[in-house]
Symmetry: C2
Subunit: 270 residues, 2 copies
């Protein structure tokens, strides 16, 4: 998917919502556990109930790997289901990968070719040659961690490096990498004022924003400081939507929560 | 496996070699491609030929994920084969994972419980709560990236943070995390002098050292500056051993290369 196609979808759906498919067997409705593939069945129901309200789905690979081969199969069935039924959806493999060059190429192959995701999240610590192999794929997007929404973000990301915080240096350096137009960035919603500074460095890039909702960030504040002319934001919500209910009405309740988010977004887009 | 058991194995085998199982279908002998699971068959032959010369095997997960479910099955068969036949071997899942707390717990479950590896590599960028979930497992080890052996290592890892390089800050900070005695570190062999500085910060920790051999680092230099009273080093070699030949004699040639490394190590241990 091209960036322009993503922007078009945001305008059509009046939504820049990303639904995180972080499926934990301990949290999904009990009646699904009797089915052959509870994780896929859960995702399928969530997708069927929310696909018109969201522009993106983001399975976090950890929740699938934890169940071994069965989990990897659920991930594959989920991405296939989205690609076949809703090809307009921007898919994100939240995998936070990164390794030396030839090894990163194998990860890129795994997520862009084998699973056919539109994008994958990567970690910056190993630098240029750990990220550029992902950037080499046309119409695929690499979403690099910049400032995350967890407590540990302040251990290293905000350390002072030659007068500026490390995450700002990460943003600046990455702009010089080959095919950097294929980069997006993860920026947590925990401190909305940070977006002003970030937009000075990457005015045009899409930002994937976790931490709105369950983790306490404010949608309107993030939009106030982070939005650009093409919207430029994908706001992720996982638990707040997919675990809105753990009864047989879980998909219906998920839709209600997604609709609330979409409506807020529609009013902001006006 | 406990750290003491690893140290004992190093003394018994007179080796601190780690063989990297980075299996690329384009590089393995052609005759294996006719078998049902060429990756596993390749690994099995390498393991059978080298297990008495090495204390550790390290599959890099990228090379398995690139082949989807089939690849994940090869990884599972490989770790099961090692655990069943050579339980004295210290196994490393080279996965470079890291995510927010509850998600890192899922990765820890994947590698420590589902696959039953002794250790996993992790990335430090997301800080304390992205690594501590791994450290919570008894007799499991978490090998955190400090200074890697690739070109991109100098993009961020060596930036000056309040008077010291970032990788040193990463080492120092991590010492304060809960169960930090379960930490080991990845330190590339590219500049052996760095080990002097690193040993001032983490004198007792095991260091996993890539970059000797194919990537140009010197074994004797690394040992000179990096060894401690318990050896404290695992020297990785991947391509130099497993791709020593791509004919039908590949396992035999791999053994020859592993033996050369083991003999050098034995003479250093004296």
């Amino acid at each position: 998917m091209t960036t322009q196609q993503l922007i078009d979808q945001i305008k059509i759906k009046k939504s820049f919502l990303c639904v995180g498919l972080d499926v934990d067997l301990n949290k999904i409705p009990k009646h699904l556990l009797e089915l052959e593939d509870p994780i896929f069945e859960f995702n399928k129901a969530i997708i069927d109930a929310t696909h018109d309200l969201t522009v993106s789905y983001k399975p976090n690979t950890a929740f699938y790997e934890a169940y071994g081969i069965k989990g990897w199969q659920s991930l594959q069935k989920t991405i296939n289901y989205i690609n076949e039924n809703h090809p307009e959806i921007f898919t994100i493999a939240d995998a936070k990968r990164g390794d030396i060059g030839n090894t990163s190429s194998m990860y890129a192959k795994a997520f862009f070719e084998d699973l056919n995701f539109d994008s994958v999240t990567v970690a910056p610590y190993m630098g240029k040659d750990s990220v550029e192999p992902f950037l080499a794929f046309d119409n695929k997007h690499t979403i690099m961690l910049a400032l995350t929404s967890n407590e540990g973000a302040f251990d290293f990301q905000t350390l002072n490096v030659d007068g500026k915080e490390l995450y700002k240096q990460v943003l600046e350096t990455s702009k010089n990498w080959k095919n950097s137009e294929n980069l997006m960035y993860v920026v947590g919603a925990t401190k909305a004022e940070y977006f002003t500074e970030i937009r000075k460095i990457v005015p045009d890039s899409f930002l994937l924003v976790p931490g709105v909702g369950a983790q306490g960030g404010s949608l309107s504040e993030v939009c106030k400081y982070g939005m650009n002319a093409n919207v430029g934001l994908l706001i992720n919500s996982s638990r707040g939507i997919i675990y809105a209910s753990n009864g047989t009405d879980f998909a219906e309740k998920a839709r209600e929560e997604a609709l609330k988010m979409q409506q807020k977004m529609e009013s902001i887009l006006k």
